[in-house]
Amino acid sequence: MIANLGSPLSAALALLCAWVVIGLAGLLRPMSLVFAGRTLFPLGAACGLALALAALLGIAAPTAHLTLPIGLPDLPMHVRCDALSCVFLCILGATSAGVSLFGAGYFRSGQGAPPGLLCLQYHLFLASMGFVLLADDAYGFMVAWETMALSSYFLVTTQHRIEEIRRAGFLYLLMAHLGAIAILLCFGVLQGGSWQFSFDAMRSAQLSPPRAGVALLLALVGFGAKAGLVPLHVWLPEAHPAAPSPVSALMSGVMLKVAVYGMLRVAFDLLGGPLWWWGLLPVSLGLFTALYGIVFAAAQTDMKRLLAYSSVKNIGILFTGIGLAIVFHGVGRPQLAALALVAVLYHSVNHAFMKSLLFLGTGVVLHSTGERNLGRLGGLIHRMPWVAWLTLVGTLAIAGLPPLNGFVSEWLLLQAFLFAFEVPHTFVNMLLPLGAGLVALTGALSGYVMVKFFGVVFLGKPREAAAAPAHDAGSLERGGLLWLASGCVILGLLPAQIVPVLARVAEQLHVGRLLPNGAPWWMLVPLQGRQASYAPLVFSCAVVAVVLLTIWVVRLLYHQRIRRVAPWDCGFGRLDARMQDTAEGFGQPIRHLFEPFFAMQRQLPSPFDPAPRYRVVIGDRIWNAAYAPLGALVQRIADAFAALQQGRIASYLLYGFITLIVLLALVL
């Protein structure tokens, strides 16, 4: 079916349509879990895989256009497939392949929406993200964007009988629409007076610098709201825990990347050449977001909220990279701009894989223990070894540790930061290198957060009885996890193969080129002649060799005897599971060090309390300072308007009559 559809663009379109069809097929037997789970979701996963392959081929292929006769009369839908779209289509396809495979075994009966409906929403969500990536005019883009928002809203509120989840869904919908308004306005500015809303017209529009600046600002607000840039991040830690795990995985892994795609598309393609200092806003917002996100992640006690805040951190890193690329592009350092852009793209791919992996891992934990609270879990590595070891890969990857993939993109970003002092502007050339210190701090802090996450969930002893009888993931779930985990490993070990592919995006967008250098295939040398090199394959093989050699030598010279004994613990003796560090305890140093970040409420028991309880509630200062008053204001205004509600038909007719009179008086 795919073979005869020549170009990657038509293949991608066909696959997206296939997703829609699969989704609709779910309605045939809406209550059948087996049909949706065993047939449709694996089919969707196969489509995802095919989409990833087609997109991979499309990166190297020339840009393709197509005009589809869908939509309003005289407003056909334009689609376009260039390297940038293809990279993100690849993310969408590859990640969704793993998530769908996992989802095939994950969804259980009796949970909220019927499986057939869930299948429709899920695949519609996937297809709409694909259409966002392919759209080449503002209409198509906005329609796909809104479909994405709505379908994901329904997915978030799958368990809509729970009040909390409804609230989270509402907040998500609200923020999504605020963002959409900003994007709409951004397109309005970008068309530059031609009133043509195809992206081609926007590319050729000559915008004056102030207008272009406004457009970039609007794009930053719109796409930032979707991506979770502080202070627009508030929906993220609410919506992610509310959604079923595969949906959280897709939202965090792919949907946030679609927002990043939008930002890149506007900044580097539609806008022409942004001025260099406009990049400083994304850089500073991004750095602040990264720090804010990771500090909050460290203080969380709910594992999905922790991962959601970790996503906020990664979005911060991505926007930092985008800003850095704008700065380098603006001051005429194309090679460095390309490096920063490649770092952004690489990190997008990485984060899609590792964050989906982690969310799916928490999904299995959630299913088999019914617990999201870190303080009640523990010791799961014995009960669910598959999930534990595969999640460990994701944990190490997102902590930015070599030789896994999270490190590569941070390394690339730091290499770009290293040359920030060459920006020929005072202050900026000094502050940007100091910002690199902040990037390193957030990277190291994610190590802290991830040790907390993995250590508290999987290691130690079960803290509550509920965690004890947990069971491992099913085979389909394992397949999904394995796919994503191997993605993390391969992306980590073969950066030298992947960077040139991503560099094509930078070249096609005229940002800059990474010049080829004579490095061997196993070594990544990003900048010509700078001699900074990274060969993960070499040193990982060396570490493995040394480990095997050590085991062999130790066995040869000594012995391999192991005796199982009770834990020593300094001879303390009676050890029980409640003496382990809790999630609160592990986050305590962070709460202490970064106290100004948190709005903390603590209840300390008195020393004479016979049943002491310690309670700490971590609040978000930004929520308290901005959103809560805003919400209260809206509520007050709405209450004032409520006075108009009489319930009498006559008074409503009177309102209409008065309005009509006033309007007529104004017009005539």
Binding site: L418, F421, V547, V565, M579
Partner: protein
């Protein structure tokens, strides 16, 4: 020329493996002298490791495989790091496998594995040690990165061999920025290797220890490997310091056996001096409370950043 490079590589790793416990022993000896104690033998660390290898391993019941594999992984990481750092010669086949930033990442990998293994048993001390170790780690990493930034500003690369070569071949100048970063690096070294202002390597007082708290449940060969790895880490850090700030004496470029021999001698000399300096610092300072550690490492970050700024201002 390939064979000689591989020979150099082998020599560097072997030298590191052999010298690491010796260096630790030397530091301990100097410390004892400076504190008016009778010094233990330099070889004491070796003997301890040998003794541990002979024992039966006692592994706690709740331990998973992660706990058993961690010593091997940590040891392997440290050995490979020793192969990458240009301690003896700047032409090592492994020298290009990781630059300075990736090297920091490798150390972080070892640290994360250690912390996870410490949490595996589910004891209070283990998780406390893990938490503190990770705290020191995330504070030290930005400072270390700034140090690397300053060193790489001078030679426009983060590759350690290139940094050493450029520094060793350029005219000798009085560089305040390098002095600042040198101080910062020393502070990071102390913190990362569980030395005195942050952690006391000689203590087993439960509430103050960091590194030792993570090792509490280990015994026999696992403990031996971890002790050896800790000694290697100290040596590795010292060698990174030499590569960044005192590259003189290491064999530059293609070098034959005589040059290598001199390089080894120079390395031994530098290690002797560094051991005395380390012991002196540890004797003169008192252990800080755990919550003073952030202040200590923020000062290190400050020093490194000042080095960066002064370099940008004065060009030296």
């Amino acid at each position: 020329m390939m064979t000689i490079e591989w020979f150099t590589q082998f020599l560097a790793v072997a030298a590191a493996l052999a010298a690491a416990p010796l260096f630790l022993g030397w530091v301990n000896q100097c410390r004892a002298w400076l504190q008016n104690r009778r010094a233990p033998s330099v070889l004491l660390v070796y003997r301890g490791i040998r003794k541990l290898f002979h024992k039966d391993a006692a592994v706690a019941e709740p331990a998973s495989r992660l706990f058993i594999f961690t010593p091997y992984i940590v040891f392997g990481t440290m050995v490979v790091a020793a192969a990458i750092i240009p301690s003896v010669s700047t032409r090592l086949p492994f020298g290009t496998a990781a630059d300075a930033i990736a090297l920091v990442g490798l150390f972080a990998t070892a640290r994360v594995f250690m912390s996870l293994a410490a949490m595996d048993i589910g004891t209070a001390f283990g998780s406390m040690g893990a938490r503190r170790e990770m705290m020191v780690g995330f504070l030290a990493e930005p400072a270390l990165l700034m140090v690397i930034f300053v060193a790489s500003l001078i030679s426009m690369t983060t590759a350690l061999p290139v940094i050493s070569e450029r520094l060793a071949t350029q005219a000798l100048t009085l560089s305040p920025s390098l002095a600042f970063t040198g101080v910062a690096f020393t502070m990071v070294l102390l913190a990362e290797n569980a030395r005195i202002p942050i952690d006391n390597p000689a203590t087993h007082l439960e509430l103050t220890m960091i590194h030792e708290a993570m090792l509490l449940e280990y015994s026999a060969r696992h403990l031996a490997l971890l002790e050896w790895a800790a000694a290697l880490k100290l040596l590795n850090y010292a060698c990174i310091g030499f590569a960044l700030f005192l590259p003189w004496g290491a064999a530059m470029g293609e070098a034959g056996p005589p040059a290598l021999l001199t390089a080894v001698a120079f390395l031994a000399l530098k290690l002797l001096v560094a051991g005395v300096a380390l012991a002196l610092i540890e004797t003169l300072s008192a252990k800080l409370r755990v919550f003073r550690a952030p202040q200590f490492l923020a000062t290190a970050y400050l020093f490194a950043s000042l080095g960066l700024l002064v370099h940008l201002l004065l060009g030296a």
